[in-house]
Symmetry: C2
């Protein structure tokens, strides 16, 4: 098992080891009943003393994440404690470099009827018909588009369309500075694999997007979570932190932040950019939601103020057009971009040309009018959801009404056992995103995220009433 | 600049540094005219002495890859030596973890008329119509397929189809052991990011697939290239090498190997698997070509003999069906597979459902008959190409007729300057794959790869005649 250890004394080695193992256990990478490496073996592998590993195991045992049996070894805890005593199958001992996979754990369960954990838009609100019609005519009239590898940077015509789209939003760049990726998840991954390595410092909002945390964890980065207030990331605190640990990269979702919904003010955006300039580092500006405002348009993107190429800007069209088309656009400068394109080549040989061409005319001609309607529809959804919240949720649950985006971020009473609540909800075929997965390490969050957009309106209402009732009962009982 | 150094004394530090920089220069990651870090700065970053860095720079200067000027610094060489003296733009100093990108460099130039470097199949031979018709009916009748994220492991129905497909080829596994990826490039990348890290030993054939080398290089692996003979990888030599450096992973393309065309014998396949068992390591079996045989079917896949989960098998449908659909299937066991699925989640949230469903009925019902015709068509292509070779190519060029696959692997006289030849060819709008990129580091190859399948037949003939004539003239002149 490969664990990235920082020996700068900020955090004890046993804590680092127990947190790393805890992450693997909570995301399911270490399966229930799996046998952990022996203390001696792990000590050798990590180049630490056996006492250090023993302390880490003791801490995990204290948290009931593992149980150790004299002469047999330590095992990941299981409701059915009988498992795991047989000789381990060799692949369990085959080392990996995957410290965490909360996205995997918390994204993809199709077995629940009310998947409120998933931030997505229901098919009835998406422009699937015009995109489908375009795709049908492409495959019938130009089937050779399916025979062509897209070039690594992405289709030239789509990049021209994206250029015009970004220009309307204040980002003025030639299409040569744009790259098409398979969703912004891939964009974040490409930045991480290209520019972030073991021990590099990545700053991000507390809380932040699970998928980004997974990716930076996978690179062995030291992630530092910066508190937010109503104006977004506390850049004053960030500035002080940077004094101690210069940033390699700052990841932010400044508009209707995922998961908190908070929007960063213009002043903060400017100060963040200045900070990046003074440290000569990159900002990854993840922007899936800026077109989804309910009242006023949000402040201009940080990228629109960037003259020296400090911002890698990611605009996702996945959620708002057709998640299955997996189209996002990355804007970056000079050899920052060329290195990202090189990384893209090794990761998948380029995104398919057909899907790029299928969304092109819609983005070029119909997107703005569509977005206007979508905003109204989502605003209605949000209002309905918050009305149900007021009506059914217990009074010791608090939230701030979002000004855009797809989700509500609820704060539960300090005593709530969110893991238990989650298990109860799932038994009623309801899921939500527990706030814990929006941090790395051991941070315990009192928050949960609920998306109000991915179900039909009737299902959303029904599901939310069910859930809020369950929540009320649960909190009363506790 | 981040360079992975091995301090085990097998290769001197200056050589490792000069090779690492040489790779970045030859793949274009370090641009012409770019200023290298100062000797002092690089020495600090890599924790080596300034003498070590000076030696590395001297070696690069000897190879004319860089030029150094007193008081100004060292610059990547450029035909126009005037560039690069202005103050470096900050991103050039922004460190990356991308040691090489030959795929990026050698794949994607659409500006040549005769792209023989690209191993692909021309649209006229591909089943684009039935796949296109299926896709059109899906988007019109089930547009909601575009609204759905595919699950990370891949569509259940497609995995069932793949299961039957693999079963006919001797690989008997439940669909739970299969995963769908965006081409096998992504499959290789997922294995590498999950299981390969700095200093891990990866064995592969000499020569090997450029895209795999890029990926393992990106993980900081120590790649060791094992010689081949007519029966494939020399497993006897590999066995001895493993005594000194136990393998973390063995990467092989055993059937119509890319780029050499060689097929591994059944006996070698068995011995390779035994070796992996004794070292408890993984074999990545990359299999894009086994259905493309010209005479006899090739030996059964290594995976078909694997009972303990040592083989991660990759079957690409990209090249043979529709490169733009990017469909490949990965077969692996237990928590080897589950960790790969977790890695897939972080890299792109899963492959699109629509393309998976679009190829499904073709693979289920028509693939075998199609493959039979495709074999005939490719065999004809290969025979035409080899006839032209005999007729037009100089007598000091040698090759072995491939028994399947898409490419010819030519050996040129030892004195040939392949870089110069490549530049000449490109001026006539012809490209080929230089053998050098099928190795890591400084290995000089006398080989080039030409694909006979990706152009129309007329263009192929015309292009090959042009190229062989140019080659003749060039070798005569030399």
């Amino acid at each position: 098992m490969y664990i990235e250890l920082n020996r700068d004394g900020r955090k004890s080695l046993p804590t680092q080891i127990s947190e790393a193992l805890g992450s693997r256990i909570s995301s399911g990478l270490l399966e229930r009943g799996a046998r952990l490496p022996s203390v001696r073996k792990l000590a050798v592998a990590l180049k630490v003393s056996q006492v250090t590993v023993s302390k880490a195991y003791a801490e995990l045992e204290r948290q009931a994440l593992i149980h150790c049996e004299h002469g047999l070894g330590c095992f990941v805890s299981d409701a059915d404690q009988k498992k795991g005593h047989e000789e381990a199958y060799w692949p369990q001992q085959y080392d990996d470099y995957l410290p965490r996979a909360q996205l995997w754990r918390n994204f993809d369960y199709s077995e629940v009827k009310y998947p409120f954990h998933l931030a997505a838009i229901h098919a009835e609100m998406l422009p699937l018909k015009p995109i489908g019609a375009q795709m049908a005519s492409l495959v019938l009239e130009q089937p050779e588009l399916m025979a062509t590898y897209g070039n690594f940077q992405g289709d030239h015509e789509l990049r021209e369309t994206m250029k015009a789209h970004l220009q309307e939003r204040g980002i003025i760049l030639p299409s040569a500075n744009l790259m098409i990726t398979s969703g912004s998840q891939q964009g974040i991954d490409l930045v991480a694999r290209t520019f972030v390595g073991p021990g590099d410092t990545v700053y991000m909002e507390a809380p932040s997007y699970t998928g980004a945390i997974d990716v930076f964890a996978g690179r062995g980065a030291e992630m530092i979570f910066v508190p937010m207030d109503s104006e977004g990331m506390r850049v004053d605190i960030l500035t002080k932190l940077c004094d101690q640990r210069p940033p390699k990269l700052i990841y932010t979702c400044p508009t209707f932040q995922n998961p908190s919904g908070v929007t960063m003010s213009t002043a903060r955006r400017q100060r963040l950019l200045e900070l990046a300039r003074s440290y000569r580092c990159l900002i990854v500006e993840d922007d899936p939601f800026s077109d989804l405002y309910f009242h006023m348009p949000p402040p201009p993107p940080i990228k629109s103020m960037d003259v020296e190429g400090h911002v890698v800007y990611m605009k996702s069209f996945s959620k708002v057009l057709a998640p299955g088309c997996r189209i996002a656009c990355v804007a970056a400068e000079g050899n920052i971009l060329s290195r990202l394109i090189a990384a893209k080549s090794a990761s998948d040989l380029g995104s398919p040309l057909l899907t790029q061409r299928a969304v092109l005319p819609f983005i070029a001609k119909k997107y703005n009018a569509y977005a206007e309607n979508l905003r109204v529809a989502l605003h209605n959804r949000m209002e309905k959801a918050s009305k149900l919240l007021k009506q059914y949720a217990p009074s010791n649950v608090s939230w701030v009404l979002p000004a855009g985006g797809l989700s509500l971020w609820l704060e539960l009473p300090a005593t709530t056992d969110i893991t238990e609540l989650h298990a109860l909800a799932k038994r009623k075929s309801i899921s939500f995103l527990p706030g814990d997965v929006c941090y790395s390490g051991e941070t315990k969050s009192r928050h949960i995220r609920l998306c109000y957009a991915q179900l039909s309106e009737a299902d959303m209402e029904q599901g939310l009433i069910l859930f809020f009732t369950l929540l009320s009962d649960y909190l009363k009982k506790g």
